[in-house]
């Protein structure tokens, strides 16, 4: 019996990816180190991500009905392939823990000041685990509803914030050295956009195999442009203080005040943050448990969901000591750290596969 019986459509995979990219980026806006030029850095980052995505999409297109774990087995053989798969699963697992860290830290700083992080994480993971246990189709259907709402809310907030905006806050354009701008662009490319490499675990379950690059590029563009709008809104509303605030999006939305009636919207928006975070963590959790089940040839991935979830919570609680440490890692180390997974290993696998003339027709039994 196959581990995953569900099949998802092209549109569902796009929405899933948009939600995945929103993930933490709606809270911690990408390319923040570029100051008020973050929107430019973001646009450059989108282009870089489209290039990076080309590599792992080519790999996924090569093996249409295989997840990355199965591809590794075919390309590198049983033992080396499993090693590569486990390295990739670590990326998903670690990324998920990072996302959980960002969420728990955001909520204890801004909303649930007295609630322990553990409680927030347990509730969060419980919902994700229950969704993952119900299969990919359920998750994909959730994303259609939740993420289309998210896109609407972000665009809507940008309009509501217009009265508090000052166009002068974006001037002068490119006020920082070019190398800094490019670094910010690169961090935007690796932080939300190229993380879609996680979908190499999911592409295999699309109900048509016409090619994965088009939906991925579409998702990166939709999510990227929406995020660029959000980033520009933050700078326009908050001015130079944007760089001082830890969670500028939340603060920018606090500034919305239309006629003393439409104000204090930030908690409503925080609910939409949770939606996108839920999609991201669920996709990563799904990828991790499916990968583990395939590596260890389990009959079902369901028994490992809860243990993996608990391990994610533990890593999320212990990986960083403070928010300062977390954002130092996200801004300075992560853009380099994640390169092997989003670019290096997929490229290597692709080259080896080409050299070995894989996939051979009819040779897809495992």
């Amino acid at each position: 019996m196959a581990l995953e019986a569900g099949r998802i459509s092209r549109f569902q995979v796009i929405m899933l990816m948009v939600g995945f990219i929103f993930g933490t980026s709606v809270i911690v806006s990408p390319a923040r180190s570029a100051g008020h030029d973050a929107w430019i850095a973001n646009l450059i980052g989108i282009m870089e991500a489209l290039l990076i995505a080309g590599v792992f999409c080519a790999l996924a297109n090569q093996f249409k009905d295989k997840t990355l774990v199965e591809i590794n087995d075919l390309v590198y053989g049983r033992i080396l392939g499993k090693a590569f798969s486990l390295i990739f699963i670590w990326y998903l697992f670690h990324l998920s823990a990072l996302v959980l860290t960002v969420f728990s830290r955001f909520f204890v700083t801004e909303i649930y000041l007295a609630t322990p992080k553990t409680v927030i994480l347990i509730v969060f993971i419980a919902v994700c685990a229950s969704t993952v246990g119900r299969g990919l189709e359920v998750l994909a259907r959730c994303s259609m509803v939740l993420i289309s709402l998210c896109i609407l809310v972000i665009i809507n907030d940008a309009f509501l914030a217009i009265p508090t905006m000052d166009i002068k806050n974006l001037l002068p354009i490119v006020d920082i050295p070019v190398e800094k701008l490019l670094w910010a662009a690169h961090s935007a490319a690796t932080f939300p956009f190229a993380e879609t490499v996680a979908f190499t675990m999911i592409f295999a379950f699309m109900n048509n195999h016409k090619g994965r690059y088009a939906p991925l590029a579409m998702a990166i563009l939709i999510a990227g442009l929406t995020l660029t709008l959000a980033v520009a809104r933050n700078s326009l509303v908050l001015g130079s203080m944007e760089s001082a605030f830890e969670y500028p999006t939340y603060l920018a939305i606090q500034m919305i005040d239309i006629g003393d009636t439409l104000s204090r919207l930030e908690v409503v928006v925080a609910i939409f943050f949770i939606f996108s975070g839920f999609i991201k963590v669920s996709v990563l959790l799904y990828g991790t448990v499916l990968g583990l089940a395939q590596v260890f040839k389990l009959r079902s991935y369901r028994p490992v969901i809860i243990p993996v979830g608990i391990l994610m919570i533990i890593l999320a609680l212990t990986n960083v000591g403070s928010s300062t440490e977390l954002y130092a890692f996200v801004n300075n180390e992560f853009p380099i750290y994640s390169l092997p997974w989003v670019f290096g290993i997929p490229l290597l696998t692709l080259i080896v596969a080409k050299l070995r003339k894989l996939p051979q027709t009819g040779g897809d039994q495992l």
């Binding site: 130079s240 001082a244 606090q254 500034m255 005040d257």
Partner: protein
């Protein structure tokens, strides 16, 4: 089978109902009867001992309703009985003072509905940065709180009873917003102030509020809380203030004029005439030639004539003369503000940031010497005004 389904439905319903209990988060529930909602906060420093003094004006929810519905017979001075409680807290730092709240009240402070922060004169003299900094760090406080400087002590303003609002701090906040709406004094939020603090050249500004004794016609005196000027800061220390005319000049340049009136001498010598502002726009255009900075301030204004005591009928030539007088009046206000800002050597208009926006390459050099540069920049003020309407009448109401 049907019974099993019913049982399942019941279980789901029970689960959903019990979930609602957790929505507020058990640790973070704020009960109305256990929290003290602050409406305004005053910050003072004792000049002799250096002790920090915070004054909280907290809302008494039960009283808000009764006093707004009831009559104002229990009043002591002017205004109606306020529905607030005052607390004075002392400490060596602001947070230590806040921590002492528990020792004198049975509730915990809740900042989310805070309207304004008022800083005393001594705080302005010693530097407002610690106040701004700690307020920005506290999650509950919002970046669009209004900031004010007290003419003397902030605690006096917090204690003053005046106006028509049962919560005086909200009254003061509305007063500030009204004064900005009628283009008298700037209304400055904490975010705007912080942005000016972060700028290398722009001098922060805040409205000054004070208590003034006024005499009613029947001889009774009462206290009025009133905005009287604009405080000018050099980084976080107050260095001077702009009076009413200079504050208006500042608003003209910074494009903050909304409504309001321009009073001029009528061109036919019939005394004062008033015009109401219907639209105003201004632009700061910097020009850098051979290291010399010229700032062009272009102000475009449209107004209506609403008061004219003269005997002449309106015609195009007379209107033109009115426009010229209006140009002149606006120019005078701007000049007054400019002269004061040069005297204080404080760039209240944000000329420096305008240069930054246009000349980012030269900025590094300019910003490091801005204090010297500012004193010899050339400012050209260009005012274009237009009178659209003259109200309901176009002829003078006198026998022909």
């Amino acid at each position: 089978m049907k019974k099993k389904k019913q049982l399942r439905m019941f279980a789901v319903a029970m689960l959903l109902t019990s979930l609602s209990a957790f929505i507020s988060g058990c640790w973070d529930s704020h009960d109305l009867n256990k929290s003290a909602i602050t409406a305004g906060i005053g910050f003072d420093i004792d000049p002799k001992t250096g002790e920090h003094l915070i004054t909280y004006q907290t809302i008494i929810p039960s009283k808000v309703k009764s006093s707004s519905a009831g009559s104002s017979d229990e009043q002591t001075g002017g205004g109606i009985a306020p529905a607030v409680n005052l607390d004075h807290l002392k400490g060596t730092t602001w947070l230590e003072a806040l921590g002492n709240y528990g020792t004198q009240e049975n509730r915990s402070v809740f900042f989310s509905h805070n309207q304004l922060d008022i800083m005393g004169k001594e705080v302005a003299k010693q530097g407002v940065y610690p106040v701004i900094e700690h307020a920005a760090r506290i999650t509950q406080s919002r970046p669009n709180n209004l900031l004010l400087i007290a003419q003397d002590k902030a605690s006096d303003i917090m204690a003053a009873r005046d106006g028509m609002d049962v919560i005086p701090a909200i009254g003061i906040a509305n007063e500030v917003k009204q004064s900005a709406e009628f283009s008298k004094f700037p209304a400055v939020t904490r975010l705007e102030f912080a942005n000016r603090l972060m700028s290398k050249t722009t001098a922060p500004i805040l409205p000054i509020i004070g208590i003034f004794e006024e005499t009613a016609p029947e001889g009774k005196t009462f206290n009025k809380v009133r905005i009287k000027g604009t405080a000018v800061f050099k980084w976080d220390k107050m260095v001077g203030e702009l009076n009413e005319q200079e504050s208006r000049g500042l608003l003209w340049v910074t494009n903050k004029i909304k409504k309001g009136f321009v009073v001029i001498d009528a061109p036919d010598g019939s005394g004062k005439a008033s015009l109401t502002i219907t639209q105003a726009k201004s632009k700061i255009i910097p020009q850098l030639t051979d290291g010399k900075i010229t700032i062009n301030v272009v102000i475009e204004e449209q107004g209506d004539l609403i008061e004219y005591k003269g005997s002449k009928d309106m015609d195009v030539i007379l209107l033109k003369q009115f426009e010229e007088r209006q140009d002149e009046a606006i120019q005078n206000e701007v000049m007054a503000a400019l002269n004061k800002s040069l005297a204080l050597n404080a760039d209240v208009f944000g000329f420096g940031e305008a240069v930054h926006r246009k000349y980012k390459k030269e900025w590094q050099d300019i910003s490091s010497r801005w204090d010297e540069i500012y004193l010899d920049i050339e400012v050209a003020i260009q005012v274009k005004t237009h009178i659209n309407e003259t109200g309901d009448i176009s002829k003078a109401i006198i026998p022909q």
